[in-house]
């Protein structure tokens, strides 16, 4: 009988701790949710500006067909005088080292890859990936397929994301 009572009290204690924890996390989520979404939107805008220039702005945003593994949204990017500068894709993916979310830009005039910008980088080798692969790729000092950089698995994921975005933009241009 005493054993039964002990186990009931123990279960209730653990359940109460878990419930309080869930409530605390829920309240924090309510407080921070909007601010986090706003920060993410700012990152997308600044990422597009870093690829297409400071005058660029998002003219349209649309979700991409769910058949694609990484590409989630496409943004139509316009310049100062409302001329079409190109398209940017919001891509997200993860591997055993963590999550990555990128903006991949393609120029309308060049019909080519313009650059990429990071929105979320939760890879364990995050800074190695940025310093040895993403930055040199943006500066034209590294080929997309050259993934041996000290964060090879992360680079492979980025390469696959860019390749899938290329596939989507080529289909769009073909149409």
């Amino acid at each position: 009988m005493a054993d039964k009572k002990h186990y009931i009290i123990t279960s209730i204690t653990l359940g109460a701790i878990a419930a309080c924890s869930a409530a605390l996390i829920g309240v924090t989520n309510m407080v921070t949710r909007d601010k986090i979404a706003q920060n993410e939107q700012n990152k997308i805008t600044s990422g597009i500006n870093s690829i297409f220039g400071n005058d660029s702005k998002i003219a349209d945003e649309a979700p991409v067909d769910s058949d694609y593994k990484y590409v989630k949204y496409v943004y139509t990017v316009h310049g100062d005088g409302d001329q079409l500068l190109g398209y940017a894709f919001r891509t997200s993916g993860s591997n055993m080292y963590g999550k990555i979310s990128l903006i991949v830009g393609f120029g309308e005039a060049s019909k080519d890859f313009e650059g990429l910008s990071i929105v979320v980088n939760e890879q364990t080798y995050a800074s190695t990936l940025v310093d040895n692969y993403i930055n040199p790729l943006n500066e034209g000092k590294r080929e997309l397929e050259d993934v041996s950089c000290g964060a090879t698995y992360g680079a492979k994921l980025v390469r696959d994301m860019v390749n899938e975005a290329s596939q989507v933009i080529n289909e769009m241009w073909k149409d």
Partner: protein
């Protein structure tokens, strides 16, 4: 039980010097190696770590009589994970640059041995105030330790100290110490972190060995002196006895 005078001060300082979690206990080395590229990132990591450590230690101490032996570890993990999640959300919302820089290492505070270690070894057996002071000392000790590592890594690896990139509420500035071209970028890589960590540990070991050597020497000298004094006393005693015998 009455506490000795200066217990609180000793309790706080032990985490910084004699029981420093990183340099003495060699705990929490993974984030210490990964987040010490810049002094600013190390300071951010140290602050988040200290907040989680203090909150979890205080709550564990507060609930120590309610949490039974069987559910101690799961209960502590739930408490620590809750605070880490809250800190992660807050950082993502209000310090997005720090969140981007530290990345996965904020979530990894959950599995940091120091936090669970202090909850298990100290907070579960002591009062809320003592647990708070202990956690504060350990947090400050860990923060200072990673800042020391970051100081050398940023200085040698980039030749300069940059501020305002992560804590964007302070104006950005760069302090060039070593002329451009003379920096050693190896110190910005993981290998550089291991080298700096090893050198600091070697210096600490050297200082401790010197201290122990000095202490042993002093003890030996005191022992020899004592022996000599005893011998002298015995000789004087003997001479006195001989003199008394001759007088008789």
């Amino acid at each position: 039980m009455a506490k000795e005078k200066g217990f609180t001060k000793k309790n706080f300082l032990k985490g910084i010097v004699v029981e420093n979690p990183l340099f003495v206990s060699i705990l929490g080395t993974c984030p210490a190696l990964a987040t010490t590229k810049t002094v600013e990132a190390a300071l951010g990591m140290g602050l988040l770590f200290t907040v989680v450590l203090i909150c979890s230690s205080v709550l564990v101490s507060l609930l120590r009589k309610l949490i039974s032996e069987e559910i101690r570890t799961p209960a502590y993990i739930v408490i620590i994970a809750t605070f880490v999640t809250i800190v992660k959300m807050m950082t993502s919302a209000f310090l997005p640059e720090l969140y981007s820089t530290l990345g996965v290492f904020i979530s990894l505070i959950v599995v940091n041995c120091i936090v669970l270690g202090r909850a298990e070894a100290y907070a579960s057996k002591n009062t809320v105030f003592d647990s708070f002071i202990d956690a504060l000392g350990m947090g400050v000790g860990y923060t200072l330790a990673i800042i020391l590592m970051a100081f050398f890594r940023e200085l040698i690896g980039t030749g300069a100290f940059s501020f305002g990139k992560i804590f964007t509420f302070i104006p950005a500035f760069k302090l060039q110490i070593i002329p451009v071209g003379y920096e050693i970028s190896l110190f910005q890589n993981p290998a550089g972190a291991f080298i700096v960590f090893a050198i600091i540990l070697a210096v600490i070991a050297f200082i401790n060995n010197r201290k122990n050597e000095l202490k042993t020497n002093l003890e030996r000298q005191a022992k020899i002196k004592k022996q000599q004094e005893a011998k002298l006393k015995a000789e004087q005693e003997k001479a006195k006895q001989v003199a008394e015998g001759e007088t008789k």
